[in-house]
Subunit: 195 residues, 2 copies
């Protein structure tokens, strides 16, 4: 299997679990300090440690030339005004890109560079988002009803740096403002000058 | 644009041309000696230099870390018994993979290694095909009615080696045999021992 080509039938109905070797689940408890509204966070957590998102990935050698790939599913929901989202990360090998292709739902890709440049790309099913090398990225599900399902592909040697974002946050947050999706400043963001 | 993330709305209705920087078209005349039945080839060509397939691709730096990506469209048709297909190639940087995701239609990915191992993966819309490093690959449209449309992603430094396949061919061909899709030996294939 490892060095032989293969086909994955990407269909929720047929069951992702049978197809991908790795299944990563992120419950709310694993996302402490990622959402702005601490009270809302603790209040939800006290009731249930909800599943925020999950990732199914093929196991491949983590080396240049290979392409790691799989699907991510961000479930619908909010913590306070903030939509459910992935933790977000830089690649450890900073100069590596990532391709996302939206299979279902709607969302925004929140991105920023180590120097503090930011951008947000909105997308729907059928859209491809190119995350250029150097850009940290986080997927946000801006629907409160449907899953956001994305196919992703990134270089085998990219690696994940979650810690930088855990520490400094993203500059922008995606929130529900009077039932509209809004991009707002994150007041807890640590700018390059303050690091 | 070059180093800034971007979104592509992959939809035939909205027009690929507006979205991708490169548009490559392969007409029948550019595929001389790729199909087995020379008489059928010349006979079609005399009538019309038909468009066999086309590729829309984003322009990105051709370096490791970047991901080249786009869509390929293989139109339906046959030359003799052989279904329309892409030229097929090795990556110049042999140890690089490629991810294909089928957006529409049905097809087969014909693959082989420099040592002569071969495999064929059949797929439909919604399937992902992983072409592992070292495998030459060719997409074949096994429908005679619909386009085969695929999203592809490969490392920026992969490069294309078309000449090896032009010279030695693929070991296997995909043909219409009594209205069934069949995998048959290519009698013109040059094996590693004969090269």
């Amino acid at each position: 299997m490892m060095d032989h080509p293969f086909t994955l039938k990407i269909s929720p109905e047929r069951g992702y679990l049978e197809l991908f070797s790795n299944h990563i689940t992120r419950h709310l408890s694993a996302m402490r300090n990622q959402f702005l509204d601490k009270d809302a966070y603790e209040s939800i957590l006290k009731k249930e440690d909800v599943l925020v998102y999950e990732v199914y990935e093929s196991k491949r050698p983590e080396i240049a030339g290979e392409l790691l790939h799989g699907i991510s599913i961000v479930h619908p929901g909010k913590v306070g005004d903030e939509y459910f989202m992935t933790k977000g990360h830089f690649h450890s090998e900073l100069e590596t890109a990532e391709v996302y292709y939206c299979l279902h739902g709607q969302g925004m890709m929140v991105m920023e560079t180590p120097e503090g440049s930011w951008t947000v790309e909105a997308f729907n099913a059928g859209d491809l988002v190119y995350v250029s090398p150097r850009w940290a990225h986080r997927s946000v599900n801006t629907s409160l009803i449907e899953d956001l399902i994305m196919l992703f592909v990134y270089p085998g040697n990219a690696g994940h740096d979650y810690r930088t974002i855990e520490r400094q946050g993203f500059r922008k947050m995606i929130v529900d403002k009077d039932s509209q999706v809004a991009i707002v400043d994150n007041p807890h963001w640590i700018s390059p000058e303050e690091r």
